[in-house]
Symmetry: C2
Subunit: 323 residues, 2 copies
């Protein structure tokens, strides 16, 4: 099987780490005896829910924004995003004092829209289809000259997201396994590459909702399979892989574990209860993947990237509410 040359090098990742160092948090790594018992392994959690803007997305967005030339930056940045990338890009733009334009589907959770606007971005709503998003973004670019920053299929973004795994490997040596969720594959690609460079014996496992298992199908079938429009509580993961991320995951990921909606909710609730951390459903997907395969990871040292903590607190999946 042929392997695509690496599009992101360790130097690229180191450069990203250096560039975001003064803006991004070095998030804490946490563990819990009760969670270890529940998962059947020694788990450490890289808490990107405690990252600026509440998700790992700030790493990539910050790196992309800081990489722009002054001339490019002056016209601002634009993206389409279901929320976390939009908030992250808005915050990065605020730091660089440039405009941010965010195209969001009208179905995005209110808490995410409020966050994006709170960071000072201009939001343009569109229909919840990829086509509508791309057309709306193109219109904004024409009007403003802003640089488009893709939520995941961009090498600067991938290098930025990789810095979370860099910090985790730096803090916890010789992990047997590293796990993160996969949606568009930005975090997954960065995690896989950082791990290949820094801890090549560590197995890279991804968690994905069974309801939107396009990455699982892509790796299984050996060809890009797009996501369909099935609903999942892990709304941040309803995205197809990209031109950059698909080959990276194909070549550098050991395997993908799919989990049910109930398993996602169970894992989310367990971490809220036991670790006192609010984690979003997408993050719970990675935890649920370990829980599902607990026999396989029995007693192993497992690093889990908790991708974010942006949750609509008015609607929690385990609480029945009036219609």
């Amino acid at each position: 099987m042929s392997v695509t040359p690496l599009p992101v090098t360790l130097d690229d990742i180191r450069e990203a780490a250096e560039q975001i160092a003064q803006h991004a948090h070095r998030t804490p790594v946490m563990s819990s005896r009760l969670v270890d018992e529940w998962l059947g392994c020694r788990a450490v959690f890289k808490c990107e829910n405690l990252q600026r803007t509440g998700a790992f997305k700030f790493r990539g967005a910050c790196h992309a924004v800081m990489s722009l030339s002054d001339t490019e930056a002056a016209c601002g940045v634009v993206t389409h995003s279901s929320g976390n990338h939009g908030a992250a890009l808005a915050e990065a733009a605020r730091i660089r004092r440039i405009p941010a334009y965010v195209v969001m589907p009208e179905t995005a959770p209110s808490v995410k829209r409020a966050a994006v606007e709170g960071y000072g971005a201009q939001v343009t709503e569109c229909s919840p289809t990829l086509e509508a998003r791309e057309q709306t973004a193109a219109r904004v670019i024409n009007e403003t000259g802003a640089s488009f920053i893709h939520p995941f299929d961009d090498l600067r973004i991938i290098a930025g997201q990789a810095t979370a795994a860099v910090e985790l490997h730096d803090e916890v040596a010789e992990l047997d396994v590293i796990v993160c969720p996969v949606g568009g594959g930005g975090l997954a690609s960065g995690t896989a590459l950082a791990t290949r460079f820094l801890s090549p014996d560590t197995e890279v496992v991804l968690g994905e909702p069974e309801a939107v298992d396009d990455a699982f199908q892509s790796l299984k079938q050996g060809r890009f399979v797009p996501a369909d429009d099935s609903p999942t509580i892990a709304d941040g993961l309803k995205t197809s892989l990209g031109e950059h991320t698909y080959p990276i995951l194909r070549d550098h990921v050991s395997r993908i574990v799919t989990v049910t909606e109930d398993e996602i909710i169970e894992a989310m609730r367990f971490l809220w209860t036991r670790m006192k951390l609010t984690i979003e459903p997408s993050s719970a997907v990675a935890v649920a993947a370990i829980r599902r395969e607990s026999e396989r990871f029995d007693g192993q040292s497992v690093g889990i990237i908790i991708s974010g903590g942006n949750v609509d607190l008015d609607h929690l999946p385990w609480i029945e509410q009036p219609a």
Copy 2:
């Protein structure tokens, strides 16, 4: 005005810190730009919700359990507690491999009872009155010979709780203000004494629910005023001060700020949303106190002890549920 001699010395607190060091977490100190804007000050949060058993209570309970002689310890320990102290005592007893007996009101949140039992304690239910709790505890002592460990009115407990403020002062020098909630006064007494010893220029402020403002009334009237039985969402604070804690607070606390139920819920929700931490209503009381007096603390350096994170996730105060 006469001042009672100090019942707990800096040496006592140092000894407690040393004794619990290998068992308790040194919890992280966190901050958030958005929370600072909301509060109008520079706030640092000592995250005791991330302490073992999910609350600062583990510090005092662990110190008390480890202080017992082997003969005393062999018969176990007993307490009455609405939950967090019970869980903490159970966990400390588990570590020392001795029995723990916990008397709990039948009205305690299910999550707290489950936690206490999960740590291996034997729970005895009683009516939700102080008298019933004390009588039931006395019966258990008669039957087992266990040592009674009061939830707050015990000098070992106070010395143990003081260690949270010790760590905070150690990490953040020259706080203008330190704030914690007050219920029975164990944490408040420990915080006040540690601050007096280690950072005497720091103002000690307590937050208390307006609905159960017995500590506020006690300090205002200069005499012990017991708590009545009014309901508050901050159920951990529905407790009168004790023989030890009342004089300590009278002599070493600058003032008490009372807050409404709505203010408690608002602060709780704000920290969940912005800091991705689950904090319990009692902890939110301290945050709400700063928010209420934001003009007074304008621009100051404020340390807030987040006392715990044990919440019944099936019932959140801002979510309407079917009756």
